[in-house]
């Protein structure tokens, strides 16, 4: 199946939850913010959400700004 990750298409071969997906991207899960289909997803919910085809994911973090 396909999801849109930060504006670009990404393939997801097998069923997995959001937490597993993010882990597969080698991210420091402590410091990221995740929005699924324009709805913010809290950390504690990541393991309970199974990715669906066409899901739109935004994975964000804080950077230097003025």
């Amino acid at each position: 199946m396909e999801v849109v990750l930060n504006g670009t298409v990404a393939n997801v071969d097998q069923e997995m939850n959001l937490w597993e997906f993010l882990l597969s991207k080698e991210l420091n899960l402590e410091t990221i913010i995740v929005e699924l289909n324009e709805v913010i997803v809290k950390k504690q919910e990541w393991k309970t959400i199974i990715l669906q085809d066409k899901d739109r994911l935004e994975v964000l973090k804080f950077v230097g700004g003025g």
Partner: protein, 263 residues
């Protein structure tokens, strides 16, 4: 009695707010914070780039600092509101710097979109600090919709051009009951000092420190200049005069007293 700036539920000793952008390395940030004495620091929210993963600026900001996420990148009210909510969800607290900008050359803010954002977010319990042009009527409406302060520009963002809008800043300071924080354009500690002498509540700057040859030393200079300007405001500046007035007595000269009449 101690002079403090109260914004939202926070009392601040330092009236210098700093940014975290444009540094050669985020690892400089802790020392910049320490030298500047600042208690409020801005950050931005961006998509992770999976092709070039980098660190997270948060790792370099000591706890105890008041985070001030900005809505940079937002071109309208809707985008700004979305970014603000994400920042809050990320545990950054409830302060937000509103930036709504569609002009990419001078990065000048859109006042009316900013008013809309402020109304919505203030209603959601955010402490809203909007970046604006020094326009009195926009500032007055921001007061009505619940802004915690107004942050007019001195000159375009990152230009280091100084207090080019002095005339209008003075009017805002005189007419607006909220703290007026000069944001953008400040290039030299003397600019920040002058803004404080004029009665600004605080100064927010980033580029002036980040673009210095020695950012840590410049951070210290700005911390001192802002504090000096505030003290001068409280001490009450002396009047400026057209003519000279001698600092030394005009009588009792050695030379003949005839001369004294001429003085």
């Amino acid at each position: 009695m101690v002079d403090q700036l109260v914004i939202g539920d926070r009392s601040l000793q330092s009236r210098l707010f700093i940014g975290t952008g444009k540094y050669s390395a985020d690892t400089l940030i802790p020392e910049i914070i320490k030298k500047s004495g600042s208690e409020v620091i801005t950050v931005a929210l961006r998509r992770i780039d999976f092709n070039s993963p980098t660190g997270n600026v948060m790792d370099h900001i000591p706890s105890g600092m008041q985070l001030l996420p900005n809505t940079s990148g937002a071109r309208n009210a809707q985008e700004a509101i979305r970014i603000a909510r994400l920042a809050k969800a990320a545990g950054c607290g409830n302060w937000i710097k509103i930036e709504v900008i569609s002009d990419n050359k001078y990065l000048l803010p859109d006042g009316y979109e900013t008013i809309k954002v402020t109304e919505v977010l203030a209603g959601e319990g955010f402490v809203v600090l909007p970046y604006i042009s020094p326009d009195l009527m926009v500032a007055k409406q921001l007061v009505e919709v619940g802004a915690a302060a107004v942050m007019p520009l001195g000159a375009p963002i990152g230009s280091n051009r100084g207090l080019k809008t002095k005339e209008l800043l003075k009017i805002l300071i005189e007419e607006i009951a909220l703290p007026v924080i000069v944001d953008a354009g400040i290039g030299k500690p003397s600019d920040a000092c002058e803004a404080m002498e004029m009665g600004a509540a605080a100064c927010l700057l980033n580029t002036a420190i980040a673009s210095a040859n020695q950012p840590e030393l410049m951070a210290e200079a700005f911390g001192m200049a802002v504090a000096a300007g505030r003290k001068a405001y409280l001490a009450g500046l002396g009047r400026s005069e057209k003519y000279a007035s001698s600092s030394s007595p005009l009588t009792g000269f050695l030379h003949s007293s005839i001369a004294e009449e001429t003085i």
